[in-house]
Subunit: 224 residues, 2 copies
DNA sequence: AGGCTAGTGACAGTCACTGACAATTGACAA
DNA sequence: TTGTCAATTGTCAGTGACTGTCACTAGCCT
């Protein structure tokens, strides 16, 4: 896993083997997303992808557990960025404000990181493709709900609550995520399909839920 | 589709052909759910199902577009019951109360209807299986989000709003559905895996969101 | 230089799913 | 009752995603 070579190769020199792997992986992602967004997900076969990258099909499935997974490679980066941003929010912020600010910070921060793998433009087209491909939308929603669990635990820790005893963290996160999901859908349908567009839409939609949910927190749980 | 026979066969006599089809379909659902819940979804092949029902695989795929779809046959009935219940709520009720009462009414009303196809016990085990099978969970969430769109439109009509101009119906429904989803997950993890259990849990969880969301409605939209 | 091992390719096989066509069987009229 | 029509079903062949196996190639380490 770690254990760098003898002459202390910094974090930027992971050895030839590692770099080769990274290049293959990135190439697979780039080619796959390019094909998906131009021809459509269903009409693109794994064989097409591996042919363009010149690896065997077996190799593709060593990097990605499924054809679906490769479509979410970039998505994953954004999610990780969001969780990082949320964890870094000042403890004074209420849970809703923290989530809201973390989302906005994530939208601001990932632009550059994404570019190292695929052009931002391709990322946005991928986002749109996921929303409009039933099979991928399903996976996207499952991934989102897994992310919700992570977020709920972060929020609970911030508030000093136990996720399993107190339903409020999960409920707040579920409501918040629901709004985020609607935002994504509306963005996909709307005309302004840019990074700024989704950022603005996020703020605009969250403004309608925020005030309602930030009340009554940190009080004892009412008896059932 | 319609056009009943000459001697006016009532709704209880749809002809031999129709009845045969219905029996085949029900048998496929029953056998499939039984196998899914005992062996697991992934470990059950379509061939096993059609073998037990003694039809060809091709016939299975004429009734269900996919192996996944058969797992949601009963789920669909519950959803339809919910939409019916929601539409039937008195106009005086606020959107949140209407949704809440419709869910509870649906839980009360479907028990009998389900029993005509599969035992309620099998339905509950199916619900649990869906929640714990990643591939099915994904589909379940997509179906839920489609249902959300339907609900949002019903809610909007009740309130005399335009879903595309006013974000509040979709947001309220998204938040509500988020809570319902968490409820389902918690029910699956909890010990009380009965119809009463999920009903009680539904009430208990919704109580935490209701007051917060039922405020400030039917007022003009604040300027952006 | 040579052994070790991670990574890859080639191959065979399973399973979900589809199109095409032939066989069967209710439905309905003569 | 019987013949015709149309709906339903079965058979067959094929595609595409995905997996296990095994031999082989190429970085890595001594």
């Amino acid at each position: 896993m770690s254990a760098p070579g003898p002459s202390a190769p910094g974090p930027s020199a992971p050895g030839l083997r590692e770099r080769k792997k990274q290049r293959t992986r990135d190439a697979l992602v780039r080619v796959a997303l390019e094909l998906f967004t131009t021809q459509g997900y269903e009409r693109t076969t794994v064989d097409e992808i591996v042919e363009a990258v010149e690896v065997s099909q077996r190799t593709f499935f060593r990097y990605f557990a499924s054809k679906e997974e490769v479509a979410f490679a970039v998505q994953r980066m954004v999610e990780e960025e969001f969780v990082r941003a949320l964890t870094a929010r000042p403890p004074g912020e209420g849970p809703f404000d923290a989530m809201r600010n973390a989302v906005l910070a994530a939208w601001d921060g990932v632009g550059d990181a994404i570019d190292e793998v695929v052009p931002v433009d391709l990322y946005l087209r991928t986002f749109f493709m996921i929303e409009s491909t039933p099979a991928l939308l399903a996976v996207h929603l499952r991934r989102s709900s897994e992310l919700e669990e992570t977020i709920a635990r972060v929020v609970a820790r911030r508030e000093g609550l136990d996720v399993d005893a107190d339903p409020r963290p999960r409920i707040a996160v579920a409501a918040f995520s629901g709004v985020m999901r609607v935002t994504g859908q509306m963005w996909g349908k709307g005309p302004d399909r840019t990074l700024e567009g989704i950022r603005a839409l996020t703020e605009w939609y969250l403004d309608h839920l925020g005030p309602a949910l930030s009340l009554h927190w940190r009080e004892p749980l009412p008896r059932r």
